[in-house]
């Protein structure tokens, strides 16, 4: 850990990573990253494409387990508990650390069933009425309720791209996660839909610890309070968003945000 990073170590972090390395077979994609993620901020990961943002994000809810060649070293904790420990149950972990993907991926089911999917598999609803409540609450929080309340039984795939992405956010929210990971959630959306999602992230802040990967620096500046800059598998700089953008300490960070590469 560098000096600056230690300074940024958060009092009571929701998740923290220490010296995390990720390998795909022989190839190393993450080269020893340490970072804390707090409950009160939206944390943005920025960096040129291929630098390992998604890879690192996926270590936080062990989605890398699904890639046969991937291997993770180091320690990542959730509320102080090592998520790679044998005692950690990955099913539980992923319920607590939800994820939203780059391309909206609603299931080919109805809107209602999309939201109900998580609560159903985890057994969170006490009955039909309870499920109705959960669905409505989740859709409201995802800012989608008013648009779909009359057609809950239409297919989720029939919605527009922006609506689909909010549906996916609602689907993640429905299991009451503690952390939400978003991997470039707006990159497949038009500007209006993007604005809606950004607004939504604002509203969700504080309720969940949110980590968002973005290649759009304006977006990072708009939605996040902390920003981490990755480059070639390294965490180059991590700090308060406004500092990073106005006063980067590292040459590489400056080059990147001033658009010299990436």
């Amino acid at each position: 850990m560098t000096e600056e990073q230690i300074k940024l170590a958060i009092e009571n972090p929701k998740m923290s990573a220490r010296d995390v390395k990720v390998f795909y077979g022989e190839k190393q994609a993450i080269k020893g990253v340490s970072i804390d993620v707090g409950m009160d901020h939206v944390t943005a990961f920025i960096g040129p494409s291929g630098c390992g943002k998604s890879t690192f994000l996926r270590t936080l809810n062990r989605m890398n387990d699904t890639v046969a060649s991937a291997r993770v070293e180091g320690e990542i904790t959730l509320d102080g508990e090592n998520i790679y420990a044998p005692s950690m149950d990955v099913v539980q972990l992923r319920a607590r650390v939800g994820m939203v993907f780059q391309k909206p991926n609603p299931f080919p089911k109805s809107i209602y069933e999309n939201i109900a999917y998580g609560p159903r598999i985890h057994g969170l609803a006490a009955g039909k009425a309870d499920m109705d409540v959960i669905v409505e609450k989740s859709l409201r929080r995802a800012g989608l309720w008013d648009e779909v309340k009359d057609r809950l039984h239409d297919s989720g795939t029939a919605l527009s791209g922006g609506q689909q992405q909010r549906l996916c956010i609602g689907r993640a929210i429905a299991v009451e996660p503690e952390v939400i990971l978003m991997d470039e959630p707006c990159s497949a959306l038009d500007p209006i839909a993007t604005a809606k999602i950004e607004e939504l992230i604002h509203e969700l802040r504080g309720r969940y610890a949110i980590v968002i990967v973005t290649h759009n620096m304006q977006q990072a500046a708009r939605v996040s309070q902390r920003t981490a800059f990755f480059h070639l598998g390294d965490l180059v700089e991590y700090g308060v968003t406004s500092d990073i953008f106005t006063n980067p300490r590292q040459e590489r960070t400056k080059d990147y945000i001033t658009g010299r590469y990436g």
């Binding site: 939800g98 991926n105 080919p108 598999i121 299991v175």
Partner: protein, 464 residues
């Protein structure tokens, strides 16, 4: 002159034509090139060779094809004109038998005559055969020469031989592609025609909805009524191919596909997938023998042991079980494709919600892949109901309308084989019934395929 000799001779002529035309073109072109004009030369010498060779061979070949078809008629005519033919009996059957025997002796396929009359016709036959054989050979060779000579005179340095040869190549490709259509038309026409003749003897309603199948009694002269009710056959076909076989093939095929694609290590997959596919490569006659020799007796003993009545040594269950095993690879490869076509993002989405792999498969992948799987099952059913040898060898011939899997039932394909092997009289309702059954089978498998492909296509489009 014998056929092979003529063909050999023609091939030799073609080769000579190729070589000499190529040489001539080469010589002319060398001269022409010396003049220095860029358009003096068009095609490579080889194309001139092909051009002339094809002109040598094709007219002669077309002539020979026609000749082979008309010559026998001409031969017979000239034999009949012979005085020795005056004593032939007038009725068609024995007349043609005698003529056939004389021809066989004359062409050396038979040593001696059974009928003294044919002995007298051998000489005229031999003479006529020789005459027309030589005439045909001479005409073919003349045509070959004429065609070759005509083409040879057209060789000039700037002659567009390549364009012409290529035009012919294109034409032959087109003709080849027509064979598929001709075959389809041939199938439909022959099935329709023979069925039409069948339905002029047997009421189609009786055929499609009658429940009594006993073509034997019709053949024995008890009339066609009430003998060609095909419902027991339809039921047997469905019972074995669409019910019992599918009860075996769908779970095993689907679960195998799921295990091999979602759980198995790459090494296991690499070895087990081809192993399972071998099940589809085993000839059906082997399955049939296996069903009849091993499975059917075991099932009968089992049924007798648990006290089931009507257990037979040929049973729907034996045929259906073995057929189901044969179908496993079809179902599993279709399921494999359909599951693979579900985007990875669906799987990721579900796993990221904290679903286990099996929950993801059961609640997301299978529902999403369902149309593809259903399409695959329809294809498998169409394949199963058209399968012949397993049911011929293991299902039996008894046209029973029963739901007892240990009893013997018969199927459409079994009956087609049964009706058309052994002594056949053409034109009898019994023989023609096989074509009517074939028509039904053809239509049903065709519809199943069309529906299945539609379903699968729609499904593929949904994820594109």
């Amino acid at each position: 002159m014998t056929g092979p000799a003529i063909l050999l001779l023609l091939a030799g002529l073609g080769a000579i034509a190729w070589v000499s035309a190529r040489a001539r073109a080469l010589r002319l072109q060398t001269v022409a090139r010396a003049t220095g004009r860029r358009d003096a030369v068009h095609s490579l010498p080889g194309y001139h060779g092909w051009y002339v060779a094809l002109w040598t061979l094709i007219p002669a070949a077309i002539f020979l094809i026609i000749w082979v078809n008309v010559a026998p008629g001409l031969v017979t005519q000239s034999v009949l004109a012979d005085p020795a033919a005056q004593s032939l009996p007038l009725d068609g059957f024995s007349r043609s038998a005698i003529l056939g025997e004389a021809r066989a002796i004359a062409s050396g396929n038979q040593a001696g005559a059974f009928n003294p009359l044919s002995q007298g016709l051998v000489e005229p036959y031999r003479a006529a055969l020789d005459k027309y054989g030589i005439a045909g050979a001479v005409l073919a060779l003349v045509l070959a020469f004429a065609g070759g000579a005509f083409a040879f005179t057209r060789i000039r340095p700037d002659f567009r031989a390549r364009t012409r040869v290529e035009r012919l190549v294109m034409a032959s490709l087109l003709i080849a592609s027509l064979i598929a259509i001709i075959t389809t038309v041939g199938i439909v026409a022959s099935l329709l025609w023979e069925s039409f003749r069948f339905f002029s003897m047997v009421n189609p309603i009786d055929f499609l909805f009658g429940t009594k199948w006993s073509p034997q009694s019709a053949a024995m002269g008890y009339g066609n009524d009430d003998a060609f009710g095909a419902v027991p056959l339809f039921w047997g076909t469905i019972f074995i191919g669409a019910i019992i076989a599918m009860i075996v093939a769908i779970p095993l095929g689907l679960m195998s596909a799921i295990y091999l694609t979602q759980y198995a290590s790459p090494t296991v997959r690499k070895w087990m997938k081809p192993t399972l596919e071998m099940l589809a490569g085993v000839p059906t006659v082997v399955y049939g023998y296996f069903a009849a020799l091993t499975i059917a007796p075991a099932l009968r003993d089992f049924a007798v042991a648990i006290g089931i009545h009507g257990a037979s040594s040929e049973s729907a269950l034996a045929a259906g079980l073995v057929m189901g095993v044969m179908i496993i690879p079809f179902v599993s490869s279709m399921a494999d494709d359909s599951i693979a076509a579900v985007p990875q993002s669906m799987r990721d989405g579900s796993l990221a919600m904290g679903a286990t792999t099996s929950e993801t498969i059961r609640k997301v992948l299978i529902p999403a892949a369902l149309p593809g799987v259903v399409g695959g099952v329809l294809l498998a059913v169409s394949r199963a109901i058209g399968e012949t040898m397993i049911v011929v060898m293991a299902a039996g011939l008894a046209a029973n309308l029963t739901a007892n899997p240990f009893a013997s039932v018969t199927t459409v394909t079994t009956q087609i084989v049964q009706l058309l092997t052994g002594d056949q009289e053409f034109d009898s309702a019994k023989t023609l019934a096989a074509f009517a059954l074939g028509l039904v089978l053809f239509i049903v498998t065709l519809l199943l395929n069309i529906v299945a492909l539609r379903v699968v296509k729609k499904y593929r489009e949904a994820y594109e």
